[in-house]
């Protein structure tokens, strides 16, 4: 009987891990590789152009983006922290433009659990200049470990198609200042 306990516990523990594989709340670590995922291409021609997508593309991946580095923001229209921080993220975008880094680091927002309308309302409410992608069924959110919002991750192409994008910076929660976060991104970027 005593031998039975670990035998019973091990499959239960394993089953639990399988069942909860995407329910963790852990952000990525620097050096991690992003799993492959695709997103719905934005309708706006300005945003398509910013992302380097053709007019015909209906879906896209990070590999399709014309950018040496991408800052991905996981947000939600329903998140009060994201609401409060939206002007700061806009200021970060403006700082990249001002510093001549607009083509070096692009910003992309993923609306965790947000429908197209919810993303649109958030974009219009805060006059957000960079593209936001809807993720109504939390598919992308699960890819990012089901983290809380806001969450920022700076990624770069790893150089091999199989390895996708590698994480250079991972930041859960609001950032303290635009200037400091910009410096942090530039230090992290290779």
């Amino acid at each position: 009987m005593r031998r039975l306990a670990p035998l019973l516990f091990t499959p239960l523990f394993t089953l639990a891990l399988i069942l909860t594989g995407h329910a963790q709340n852990e952000p990525f670590s620097v050096g991690d590789h992003l799993p492959a995922f695709s997103m719905t291409a934005p309708e706006s021609s300005t945003h398509r152009s910013y992302l380097g997508l053709s007019a015909e593309a209906s879906q896209f991946t990070l590999a399709d983006m014309d950018a040496p580095a991408v800052l991905i923001q996981i947000f939600s229209m329903y998140c009060p922290i994201c609401q409060r921080e939206a002007p700061e993220v806009n200021a970060l975008y403006a700082a990249l433009q001002r510093e001549g880094l607009a083509d070096m680091i692009k910003i992309l927002g993923l609306g965790a659990g947000n429908s197209d309308l919810e993303v649109q309302v958030f974009q219009e409410r805060y006059d957000i200049p960079f593209p936001l992608v809807s993720d109504p069924d939390y598919v992308l959110h699960k890819t990012f470990g089901g983290v809380g919002t806001p969450y920022f991750v700076l990624v770069q192409p790893s150089g091999s198609a199989e390895n996708g994008h590698v994480v250079r910076l991972s930041h859960l929660g609001a950032f303290d200042s635009v200037e400091d976060f910009l410096k942090e991104m530039l230090t992290a970027k290779h």
Binding site: M1, R2, L4, A5, P6, L8, F9, L12, F13, L15, A16, L19, T20, A23, Q24, N25, I74, S76, M77, Y78, C79, P80, I81, C82, Q83, A112, G113, S115, L117, E118, V121, F122, R125, P136, Y138, H141, G146, V147, G148, T149, G173, A174
Partner: protein, 207 residues
């Protein structure tokens, strides 16, 4: 005796640990949950989507009620007759994940509600002190939140929204200035109703 019981206890412990892991790790996402409230949010397991039967229909006069609001006064639905449309937003329970990220989203929609001459009345069966703490953690809301705590769930029950466990359904009821129900939606309790539903309801009030 101790030796004889030890293996049974170990197996029971193993079973409990496995189940505990599953239960603790299940539950809804924290996306959208206010940072300050995350640690305090109860992670409920997946619940039966709907557990009551609506007692009202489109075109019916909305059952009137008078409930205490968190900010102090008592609010009756009839206070708005002839003045404003009302969206009743019933949510199941304070300090739970989906409820905690539903109402803060409505904070950035005030001008849309104003354009539709509509006020939101948030309703739960929690008591006032609990709701007070919860609203503080959410950073405040622009619309009143009412407590249907006592007689427990009487208002929710009048609409057919009181669940078997004493919480309410996650429901939106749109009532025009004449006090008639123009649109209603009962969502799966585990899911936040998409904004498209809110807009659809608002539209019926101004058609």
């Amino acid at each position: 005796m101790r030796l004889a019981h030890a293996p049974r206890l170990t197996i029971r412990t193993a079973l409990l640990l496995g189940l505990l892991w599953v239960l603790l790790s299940a539950g809804s996402t924290l996306a959208g949950t206010p940072d300050g409230a995350k640690g305090a949010i109860f992670q409920n397991p997946k619940l039966k989507p709907i557990d009551s039967e609506l007692q009202v229909r489109i075109g019916d006069p909305a059952p009137d009620f008078s409930l205490p609001a968190v900010h102090g006064e008592t609010i009756a639905l009839s206070d708005y007759h002839g003045r404003k449309n009302v969206m009743l937003s019933f949510v199941p329970a304070a300090w739970t994940p989906v409820c905690s990220d539903q109402w803060p989203g409505y904070n950035i929609l005030q001008d849309i509600f104003d354009r539709h001459e509509t006020i939101i009345l948030g309703i739960t069966v929690d008591n006032i002190p609990t709701l007070h703490s919860w609203l503080q953690a959410m950073g405040g809301l622009w619309f009143p939140v009412l407590s249907d705590f006592w007689p427990h769930g009487k208002t929710a029950d009048a609409y057919g929204l009181l669940r078997g466990d004493g919480t309410t359904e996650r429901a939106l009821i749109f009532i025009d200035k004449q006090g008639l129900i123009r649109f209603l939606h009962v969502e799966d309790i585990n899911i936040r109703p998409p904004l498209e539903i809110v807009m659809q309801g608002l539209q019926t009030l101004t058609d």
